[in-house]
């Protein structure tokens, strides 16, 4: 027998805890964020006049005095915007018109009314004081309950009602299950409105180039690039005359800077009207009153159960409050979790009734966890209530209903295909890490000593990699059939070698701190057998020159399941080309060429190895010497979409996400009855991240998502009074967690790589944003022995609950 020569062991980078390539620039203050850029000479500054009223008709806007101020170039009003642009499209049938500025009416405090373009921001703000606006105030509609009443003043008169979307779905034999039930648990839940408030606010630098009738719009926008299509339509130009440019660095986003980003249109129009490039950097008050947030939600749940805790069916009644307008991708808030509505449980039947209401509040959009925290708050509170009502052990109820490890891939009744998992094992690992027996003993000991302690638990499925089609399920089948089907969730990446062999990777993901450059370099280094240092990864996006698709961007934790695969595919195309060239040079088959240590090495003939840079040089300088069929240069773009993301079917089933992780959380806390303060003593979170790409970054994502969940649980809320006035317009009123509020978090893993993607990785950034609010709510309910818990659990609210 002839032994084959030993294969060269390639350097493994995927899965290594590599510190980030992004760090040196950011640590030295040399990042390039939107307000650090100066792309156009003679750029003016914008300031925005905003509505002081929640709901009012605009009778007149007089900007004469503002225009007379030295340094003021132009004033743009809503009336003019309506003349020169079109409203943004959204995914519902009702005609809720949304412009980036108030047209005719103001519908929330902070809504733009006029834009001043001036020499500098100080002068622009001076000019705002000189604009006179006459308003006729209308009834403010602030809360969901009022919006549901037929006689509430409609925000959009052409729709005639504040209920702007309604759909019902039934999957499986729900009526039969309720008839067979031994008990029915009913509960009502309210989830508050909050926002992830990135420390860098919005920023846009736009230039209307009249010579070509083209808009160049720089913005710290995170995708999806559906916005490009919507912008072109709103600005009334073809897509090839809207150039969207995303800076190399974005100062956090967590969904807030995603689609829809209306200020990109507004500042573009301000540039067109004023004839100069315009810069607008949002201030914090503007951000808190008029950027974006998640929805507040009213959920009514009915659960058909057997006495042993088996859940036979659920009826979910959702009312989501999108604020003053329906902005794309809304009503996705209701539909991101739709296919996964049964969560981690093998519940065979479910009925869902969805309504969307408009109120005089800040319009909504993506926010870390998007739709998940609202959904799991109702579902996981219900699971706790089932155990309490049936006097069963909470763990038994969970275990009895969890999807079994041998059932994957598991098709949930509403359509999600849960790709892989071992939920029981993950829960067991959480119990082990938490020392659950001791945890319960500690709780009982505290109670015996007169203190108020509780244990909370939650199990959530964490979807990642949203499909482009799931939102179309908001439309009834017959309407959906009228347009072309939407499926998949593609991402594009380019890997190129210049004539010196230097490697450049170009992403379309517009990251905001997730470390995509590092992970992309890890993948490319492993595929090409080169060092991490030899790779430059470009994160800035330019829709005229970058590879991108309509789904491109960073949202729904999609880098790991989707973009990372596109990186790998592009690198493999390059690898194939390099090996083919080397094979010809060495006279061996391409299959026998390996890439390692920056060399192409014929198997067993190391002496014949050729440096990759020489192969790249050949491809650029000497294309006639290339093997037949190979194109000159080394510039390979790969597109990847997950095959399993099909368009919604005729039964309204939709697999809304590429892959599904899992999170099991356990927490022990004490409540101080006298002050209402919550002391979280133990928090354990076990994750299924599939194949982990970089453990250092994975932990960072989990800890970040945890902090957002904690903020939502304990302190964050966008608060309005009964007149619709905003009460949370500063960081002294809108409280975010600081270092002192973060309890110790113990992280565990039971990872099951996805069988549906080549890398098997799952998104991990949002799981704890979804699970923490309800875990803490469950623990507080347990501590106080109550059923009704409303977030955020501020000391005042907890104190009130404790007095009952």
């Amino acid at each position: 027998m002839i032994e084959s020569p030993p294969r060269i062991r390639p350097q493994r980078w995927i899965g290594e805890a590599v510190p980030r390539k992004e760090d040196p620039a950011l640590l030295t203050g040399a990042g390039r964020f939107i307000d650090d850029l100066d792309p156009f000479p003679n750029t003016y500054h914008a300031a925005i006049l905003r509505s002081p009223h929640a709901h009012a008709r605009i009778l007149s806007v007089d900007a004469a005095r503002a225009l007379a101020l030295d340094g003021v170039k132009a004033v743009l009003t809503g009336a003019r915007v309506a003349e020169i642009s079109k409203p943004f499209h959204a995914g519902i049938s009702e005609p809720v018109h949304f412009y980036p500025i108030a047209v005719g009416k103001v519908r929330y405090v902070g809504e733009p009314v006029a834009v001043v373009v001036a020499r500098d921001r100080y002068i622009a703000e001076d000019a705002l004081d000189l604009i006179e606006v006459e308003y006729e105030r209308l009834e403010p509609v602030v809360e969901i309950d009022r919006a549901l009443e037929r006689d509430s003043a409609p925000l959009h008169e052409n729709v005639g009602s504040n209920v702007v979307h309604e759909r019902s779905f039934v999957y499986g034999d729900v009526d039969g299950a309720f008839a067979a039930a031994e008990d029915v648990i009913k509960a009502t839940f309210r989830f508050p409105k909050y926002a992830s408030t990135p420390i860098e606010t919005y920023g846009v630098i736009a230039h209307y180039q009249r010579g070509t009738d083209t808009y160049a719009i720089h913005a710290n926008f995170q995708g999806p690039f559906v916005l490009h299509t919507l912008l072109a339509a709103a600005l009334r130009v073809p897509g090839n005359r809207v150039r969207v440019l995303v800076p190399p660095d974005i100062g956090g986003s967590y969904g807030i800077k995603a689609l829809l980003y209306p200020y990109m249109a507004l500042i573009a129009l301000a540039s067109k009207e004023s004839g100069v490039p315009v810069r607008w950097i949002e201030d914090r008050l503007e951000h808190l009153c008029a950027s974006s947030s998640l929805t507040d939600r009213l959920t009514k749940v009915q659960a058909a159960v057997l006495r042993d805790g088996t859940v036979l069916a659920l009826r979910l009644d959702h009312v989501d409050n999108v604020g003053a307008y329906v902005r794309a991708p809304e009503p996705a808030c209701l539909y991101r979790m739709h296919g996964t509505s049964t969560g981690a449980y093998r519940i065979p039947a479910i009925a869902i009734h969805n309504r969307l209401v408009t109120t005089n509040k800040l319009p909504t959009g993506l926010n870390r966890g998007y739709g998940g925290q609202e959904h799991y708050f109702a579902l996981e509170r219900t699971m706790a209530l089932i155990a309490k009502r049936l006097q069963l052990d909470r763990l038994d109820v969970v275990r009895r209903n969890l999807v079994h490890a041998d059932e994957f891939p598991y098709r949930a009744p509403a359509g999600s295909v849960l790709d892989s998992g071992d939920y029981q094992a993950a829960l067991d690992e959480a119990l082990r890490l938490a020392e659950y027996g001791k945890l319960l003993a500690a709780r009982d000991r505290a109670r015996a000593q007169g203190r108020c302690a509780g244990v909370g638990l939650a199990c959530v499925v964490e979807p990642s990699g949203s499909s482009m089609g799931y939102i179309t399920i908001a439309l009834p089948l017959e309407q959906r059939k009228k347009s072309l089907p939407k499926s998949g969730a593609a991402e594009a990446v380019t890997v190129a070698l210049d004539p010196t062999g230097a490697i450049t990777v170009r992403l379309g993901t517009a990251p905001q701190g997730q470390g995509h450059q590092t992970v992309a370099a890890q993948i490319v280094a492993e595929e090409l057998g080169v060092s991490l240092e030899s790779i430059e990864v470009i994160a800035e996006v330019d829709t005229q020159t970058s590879p991108w698709t309509i789904a491109s961007g960073t949202y729904s934790s999609r880098f790991a399941p989707i973009a990372a695969v596109a990186v790998q595919s592009a690198a493999r195309k390059v690898a194939m080309k390099l090996r083919a060239i080397a094979a010809q040079e060495c006279g061996v088959p391409a299959d026998d060429v390996e890439l390692a240590e920056g060399l192409a090495i014929p198997r067993g003939e190391r002496a014949k190895a050729i440096p990759i840079k020489r192969l790249a040089g050949l491809a650029h300088w000497n294309p006639l010497a290339l093997p037949a069929g190979l194109e000159p240069g080394v510039y390979e773009t790969a597109y990847y979409s997950v095959p399993i993301l099909e368009a919604p079917d005729d039964q309204d089933r939709v697999n809304s996400s590429a892959v599904y992780g899992f999170v099991a959380d356990i927490c022990l806390l004490e409540v101080d009855r006298d002050t209402g303060k919550i002391d979280i003593q133990r928090y354990v979170s076990v994750h299924d991240t599939g194949r982990m790409l970089n453990p250092l970054l994975a932990e960072g994502q989990i800890r970040g998502g945890f902090a957002h969940g904690l903020g939502g649980a304990l302190m964050e809320e966008i608060v309005y009074d009964e007149s619709g006035a905003l009460l949370s317009g500063t960081f002294a009123d809108y409280l975010c967690p600081t270092a002192a509020e973060i309890p110790p978090l113990q992280i565990g893993h039971v990872d099951t790589p996805s069988p549906f993607t080549p890398l098997g990785a799952k998104g991990i950034g949002e799981g704890n944003s979804m699970s923490v609010p309800v875990t803490i709510a469950n623990a507080v309910a347990d501590a106080l022995g109550i059923d009704d818990v409303t977030l955020p659990l501020t000391p005042r609210r907890v104190w009130e609950l404790a007095q009952r």
Binding site: P19, R20, E22, D23, P24, A25, L26, L27, T28, G29, A30, G31, R32, F33, D35, D36, R121, Y122, S196, T197, P198, I199, E200, T201, D249, I250, G251, G252, S253, Y254, I281, D283, R284, Q512, G513, Q514, G515, L696, L697, E699, G700, R703, G704, F706, A707, H708, T730, F731, A732, C736, T738, A739, A740, I742, L745
Partner: protein
């Protein structure tokens, strides 16, 4: 006390990251805007302009100061340091290195302000407790990391500094 009208321009001379600078600014201009827009110091990041988030923290005469709560004219005659004077890409400071190793930054927007505060803190507390580090960090909002890695980075930097002391 010197008084100025809001739009009146005043001469400002200061030492900025070790370099003497002579500029002019309207009396109402914030130090943060002056540093970014007049002096080109985009290392200074502005997050809230009302003194809560801490992103714009610089060192004025060696003290951490929120540059959005100070007027540029008040910096006249003083020493102002941004994160640029801590270390460079090729030669990160021990604190910057520790942040890198601990993955104590994600988007990096709040990072320069935190580094400025932590640098002064470590100069004054060479052997800090975790509680003291957490208290210092409470002057800053970071929405990416959940803070744990930042606490570890500062503590580890202090520990390493102690080891190096003869």
């Amino acid at each position: 006390m010197i008084t100025h009208k809001a739009a009146e321009r005043a001469a400002i001379s200061l030492t900025l990251d070790g370099v003497h600078v002579k500029e002019e600014a309207p009396a109402r201009m914030l130090l943060s805007d002056f540093l970014r827009q007049t002096c080109g110091k985009t290392e200074v990041h502005v997050g809230c302009e009302h003194g809560v988030c801490g992103a714009c923290t610089v060192r004025v005469d060696g003290r951490p100061v929120r540059s959005c709560l100070m007027f540029a004219v008040q910096a006249d005659g003083h020493n102002v340091d941004t994160v640029a004077s801590l270390g460079s890409r090729d030669e990160l400071s021990p604190l910057q290195r520790s942040f890198h190793e601990h993955h104590a930054l994600q988007c990096g927007f709040c990072t320069p302000g935190i580094l400025n505060s932590a640098q002064v803190f470590l100069e004054e507390h060479p052997d800090p407790s975790e509680r003291e580090v957490v208290e210092m960090l409470c002057g800053h909002l970071c929405r990416c990391t959940g803070y744990r890695a930042i606490v570890d980075a500062v503590l580890d930097c202090a520990r390493a500094g102690k080891d190096e002391t003869p």
